[in-house]
Subunit: 161 residues, 2 copies
Amino acid sequence: MIRDATPEDWPAIWPFFHRIVRAGETFTYPVDLAADTARDWWLLTAPNRTVVAVDEDGTVLGTAKMNNNQWGNGAHIASASFMVDPDRTGRGTGRALCEHALQWARQQGFHAMQFNAVVATNAPAVHLYESLGFRVLGTVPEGFRHPVHGPVGLHIMHRPL
Amino acid sequence: MIRDATPEDWPAIWPFFHRIVRAGETFTYPVDLAADTARDWWLLTAPNRTVVAVDEDGTVLGTAKMNNNQWGNGAHIASASFMVDPDRTGRGTGRALCEHALQWARQQGFHAMQFNAVVATNAPAVHLYESLGFRVLGTVPEGFRHPVHGPVGLHIMHRPL
C-alpha cells in the first residue's frame, strides 16, 4: 500500500534512508547528511509529493518523492527519487513506488519524467527504470565516485508520459 | 574585469536578470521569479562563488555563479550559470565569464563542468560552450517550452577539466 508520507513517518524512514545515504553507492547526497536536513529534503509538500510504501502491518518498506525537475518553462517534466529498505527488498516495492510516481506525474499533467543522476553501477535501479520505459539520454562520464567501484557514470534517464 | 559579486551589486544585476528571466527563453527559472528569491538563488557563498563582469567604469556587464552540480560522491563536478546584460552583448563578456568559471572549477579541484539545462535554441550559448570544449551529453526532448519556438530540447553539456 502506498500513501502520503507525514512527518510522523520520518522516524521509520530515517534508519534505512541514513544507511543508504551513508553507504554512498546510489545517491548524490552528502554521505554525512544530517537527519534534519534529510527530512527537509525528502518530505515535500504540495504540489510536490512524498509517499511511503507500507506492508499489511503498517511497516514502512520504502519511500518516494516526486517533484518538478526544473521550474518555469522547464517545469512540465517531473523527477522522482526512491529508497527501499535494504532489509525489505525483493517484494516489488521499488517497482510499485516508481509506477506510483509515474501515475502521479501523469495525473499532475507532466509530460515526461527525468532522473538526473542514476549511478550506472546501480543495476537494479537501471533495469527497473528501463523495464518501465525509461531510456538513458546521456551519461556523465565518471560523474560518480563509487566507494567500491571507483569513478563510474551517472545516467540521465527519461521517459515520456 | 571579473570580480566577486557582493549584495551591493544586486541592484545592478537585477534589471537585466529580471529581463532575461521574464523573457523565459533561456533559463528554467520561474518567469515571475521575485527579486528576493532571485538574489538568494544567484548570490552564492563560499565554497561556491558568484562574480560580476564590469567595464572600465564599473558598469556591470554580466554575472556568473559557479557551484557543485551534485553533492556527496557526485560533488566533484561543477556547474555554472551565466547572464549577460542584453544591452551590453558583443563584448566577449559571456566568454570571459565562462572561461573564468572553468578556471575557478579547475582551481577548486573539480574534475569536470556540467550544464543541466541549456536551451537548444539558445545558439549563442551552445556555440560558446562548444567552442570552450563542452559537448552535448544528451538532450531532453521537448524539455523546454520556448515562448516563441514552442517545445525545444534541453541539452546537458559537459567538459572535463
